[in-house]
Amino acid sequence: MAQVILKNIVKNYGKLEVVHSINLDVAHNEFVVLVGPSGCGKSTTLRMIAGLESISGGEIIIGDNVVNNLPPRDRNISMVFQNYALYPHMTVRENLGFSLKIAKRDQTEIDKSVDEASKILSLEDYMDRKPGALSGGQRQRVAMGRAIVRHPDVFLFDEPLSNLDAKLRAQMRVEIKKLHQKIQTTIIYVTHDQVEAMTLADRIVIMRDGNIEQQGSPTQVFENPINTFVATFIGSPPMNLLPGRVGKNMLEFSGGLILPIPIDFKDIVKPGQDIILGFRADHIMPVGHDLTIDGDSAMIEMSVGVSEPLGTETLLYTQLAGQEILAKMLRPRIVQDGETLTFNLDLGQCNLFDAVTQRNLR
């Protein structure tokens, strides 16, 4: 068990800088998820922590040691790869025991650790098969088993679930969560899937173009996105964004739409400022099909373009101030395309972003 600290970490590939001086503190036993669109430098960061890529600047500390130039084997970490990276010429048992064999542990200890790991991941029935004869989910579990037998200080995962189908992915997500509870180790987990990030993380770290945009607990980043990028990246469906302008004690949007300024932002905005209003589908619902709203709200009439019934709720695609807007309907009834409904917008849950910097004004 150990903390992981990145100080001003930079990575260059030749002249191209792909990670720009990032800072990150991961505490003991913390489950941190690095999330961001593909190509933003997540894998590179993770591989620098693992020692598979050299760092071009800064400092990496694992436990109490600076490990900048240490090879992976001296860092006491283990890693689960996106394509599993199983050794094709070894059986599952040999795959699991390989790292201990390399470390010259004695056979009884190896057998014990391997059995333990195979139980945790219910691999007992496949122990003498080779990876070629396993399904995707089984391979994934072997890869995880291989990582846990060593009792490393830090677990690194690089998109471990992205090759699985949706159902298996959901199932493995739960297993990873259970695994973390059972073995109590620091985990750094990379994914481009924000659902995985939201469900697994103690702390989410959102990256874009080699920078860390925001970090915080899943609720924090969900409710208070620091900018429009995080607002649209985290949460499904993404946050609705309406560009507008601050008028006299109100917000003006194209098409003559006028809304009150949310109370939290009253003292922050200046008249004439260009802003973007952000609100989630959960906070704009048809009257009679919504939740009770504590604070201010606004009534808006919109006609429904397309409706998408999902069972317990229905998604409504509508137009507002020239923008495509997504709203939600609880306790749904059948909605005709083109039907006009009155919606309740929960102003207390709205965010305002500066139109120029795209940053949250809060």
């Binding site: 693992a50 020692g51 598979l52 090879p71 992976p72 084997r73 970490i77 283990s78 890693m79 790869f81 394509n83 599993y84 990276a85 199983l86 050794y87 094709p88 010429h89 390989f98 790292s99 390399i102 470390a103 080779k130 990876p131 070629g132 004869a133 291989r146 060593r150 690194l156």
Partner: protein, 298 residues
């Protein structure tokens, strides 16, 4: 129309079979027959003088034959193993280079383009005791004050020949192993690093099993045309001086063309053919085993 009935695959391999039968099988059958006669090139009528297995018995009883046989095996074992290890080393060295790798690869293939007979002359020149590069260098550097008889002394001559052969053929191994190294998936190697392997351990446990099939392919190819070494030996020493470097192929050539004893030469030729076939089949078996090991069998 008979050919309509023949399966397509057969029609496709038919040209290959016809040519190989005409150029290789028929002459071989002829030489098999003649190896049971006392056929001499100078006296055509001896072709019909059946003498049974006399030629084979003569070979088996001949000290010269066994000496050449033993030397051939020794030569093959040393040369093939050296080529493999050096080729492996060279491939690993080149594969670790990031900048200018293409140029190194091209240079590495250089000796493959050389005609074996040219390689023979080249090293005959370089190892020449009087004007050769090696002796000139040794003498100019003061490492030796007399001319070393590279191609006359038995041990030195064998060394020189093996050097020439290894120089020529190491690149075959290097290229095939390099192709193997490129085809290895990156992931398991990184996993091995994270699993705590030292560079040597990841090579031993991960890389080597992956390139084993390529090593065996190279071995099989090399044993297929290992007799190209004949050209080198023939030029460098022609088995001499005084049979000190006589190997099976030079012995066959001399017996057949110089002594004109075709029957006897063909009998020994058959021994050399079976030797080559044995080596080739052995490595093919190994190749398939290695493929199965990786779970990638046909």
């Amino acid at each position: 129309m008979i050919y309509k009935k023949l399966p397509q695959w057969f029609l496709l391999i038919l040209p290959a079979i016809i040519i190989l039968a005409a150029v290789i099988l028929i002459p071989l059958l002829f030489s098999l027959y003649s190896s049971f006669t006392s056929y001499r090139l100078t006296r055509p009528d001896t072709l019909f003088n059946w003498i049974g297995t006399f030629n084979y018995e003569k070979a088996v009883k001949s000290g010269v034959f066994w000496a050449a046989f033993g030397r051939t095996i020794l030569f093959l074992t040393i040369a093939l193993n050296l080529e493999m290890f050096l080729g492996l080393g060279l491939a690993l060295l080149v594969s670790r280079v990031t900048r200018g790798q293409r140029m190194l690869r091209t240079i590495m293939m250089f000796p493959m383009m050389f005609s074996p007979v040219l390689v023979g002359f080249q090293f005959k020149f370089i190892f020449n005791d009087n004007v050769g590069l090696v002796n000139n260098a040794l003498q100019s550097l003061g490492l030796s004050n007399s001319a070393i008889p590279w191609l006359v002394d038995e041990k030195l001559a064998m060394f020189s020949i093996i050097f020439a052969e290894v120089w020529m053929s190491t690149s075959v191994f290097a290229i095939l192993i390099l192709a193997g190294l490129f085809s290895i998936p990156q992931d398991p190697q990184e996993a091995a690093k994270v699993d705590g392997c030292t560079p040597w351990q990841s090579f031993r446990h991960i890389t080597l099993p992956f390139i084993m099939p390529f090593i065996f392919i190279a071995m099989a190819i090399r044993s297929l045309d290992v007799a190209r070494a004949y050209d080198i030996v023939q030029v460098m020493t022609n088995g001499g001086p005084a049979r000190r470097t006589e190997i099976l192929w030079t012995l066959i050539g001399r017996t057949g063309y110089v002594d004109a004893k075709m029957g006897y030469a063909n009998a020994m030729g058959y021994v050399s053919i079976f030797l080559a076939i044995f080596f080739t089949i052995y490595f093919f078996k190994k190749l398939n085993a290695a493929r199965v090991e990786l779970g990638m069998a046909r």
